[in-house]
Symmetry: C2
C-alpha cells in the first residue's frame, strides 16, 4: 500500500532492537483519513469472503479495525488485555507474550460475541513474532468460528510471525511488509515478492 | 442523541453498583456505523470552534474519537495507560483513578503531539466521576494548548463528573445523559433540561 509506505518513510523512525516507531499516525497519534484508506484496502483484499466479524486487540488495533468494519458493514470486537468490571460473562481467554512490553498478558473476549456461525477477520497494527495474532486465532478456534484471514497494517517480514501464521495455512494480508530495519534504515519488501508468495 | 438512547435501551444492561454495560456496541464489541453517527454528532456540536486535535484515552475512547477525527479532519491522540517501548520522548503524565478497574493509573501523552498552538477536544465513552476527563484536561493545560471542550458518549448525570468539569467552565457535551440506574432501570435525563443547563 503505497500511501502507507510513504507515510512510514516520512513519519516513521527506527529505534534500536528493530523497533519501528509510527506513533505519529498509527499507535499514539492517529491519522483518521489514513485509517479509512487502510479499512478500504482490507475490505478490498478480503472481499467476497463472507466476513461477519472483525477481531482485534486493544489498543492500537482498534482504529484500523473500526474503519475496516465501517467499510465492510460488520461489527468489531477488541480483545481486552485487562478485565473490566463489566466483563462478567463467560470469556474466551488465552495468554500472549508482548515483546514490546516485555510481559505475558491474558487476553479475553466475551463468549457471546463469537459463535460457530461467524466468519472472522483478525486485524492488528503490527505483525512481528505473531504472538497477538496467534492468540486471537486461538480464541477464534475455541469459539468454533471460521478464521477467514489476518489483516496486518505493518508486517516485520524479517521476524517469524508471518511464517508462523502462514505455515498454519492462515491467509495473511499485510498492507506493508518490512524486509529490514538494519542500520536503522527502513527497507520494504518488493511488492511482487509479496504478491507471488 | 435518540439513536444512541434506543441502542442503550435495546442492548445495554445495568449491573449492580450503577454500572451500565454497553459492551455490545461501544466498549468491547463496537458498532462502526454507530461510531460514525457519534462522530458526526460531536462534529456538529463543536463546529466552528477551530479544533486542531482530539484527545482521548485508551481503549474505549478510541473508536468514537477516530470517527470524530475523520468527520472533523483532525488527528486523534490517545493517552496511554501503560508506556510502550516506543514511548521514548518527553511525556505529559498525570495520575487518574479508575473506578471500573479499582486502581490508580498513570496516563501519558508524548509532548510532541500537543503544543500551545492546539485547540483540543477531549472525547471519551463515559463520564462518571470525571477522573479520566479531568486527567486529560490537566494534560491539555500542561501542554499550553487550549481546551475547547469535552465530548462524552454517555454521561452518568447522577455522578459528580459532569458538575466537576462544568464548575471549571469546561464546555461539556454529552450525547446521552443518564439520570438514574436505580433498580437496574435506565432513565435518561430529558433533552430540554440538558439544553437549558
Amino acid at each position: 500500500m503505497k500511501v502507507l509506505e510513504e507515510k512510514i518513510l516520512s513519519k516513521g523512525t527506527v529505534l534500536p532492537n528493530n523497533v519501528l516507531k509510527v506513533d505519529g499516525f498509527l499507535n499514539h497519534q492517529i491519522d483518521p483519513e489514513l485509517m479509512l484508506e487502510i479499512g478500504k484496502e482490507f475490505a478490498r483484499r478480503f472481499k467476497g469472503k463472507g466476513i461477519t466479524k472483525i477481531l482485534t486487540i486493544e489498543s492500537s488495533g482498534i482504529a484500523p479495525s473500526v474503519m475496516t468494519g465501517l467499510v465492510m458493514h460488520v461489527p468489531v470486537i477488541f480483545a481486552r488485555k485487562k478485565k473490566s468490571q463489566t466483563m462478567v460473562d463467560d470469556l474466551f481467554t488465552t495468554a500472549v507474550f508482548s515483546y514490546t512490553k516485555g510481559e505475558r498478558q491474558e487476553i479475553s473476549v466475551s463468549k457471546k460475541f463469537l459463535s460457530n456461525q461467524d466468519r472472522v477477520l483478525i486485524i492488528d497494527d503490527f505483525l512481528a513474532n505473531g504472538e497477538a495474532a496467534y492468540g486471537l486465532a486461538k480464541i477464534v478456534e475455541e469459539s468454533g468460528a471460521q478464521l477467514v484471514g489476518v489483516g496486518i497494517v505493518i508486517e516485520k517480514a524479517f521476524q517469524k510471525g508471518g511464517d508462523r501464521l502462514r505455515s498454519k495455512k492462515i491467509h495473511v494480508e499485510s498492507l506493508v511488509a518490512i524486509d529490514s530495519l538494519a542500520n536503522r534504515e527502513i527497507s520494504f519488501k518488493k511488492h511482487k515478492e509479496v504478491q507471488f508468495q
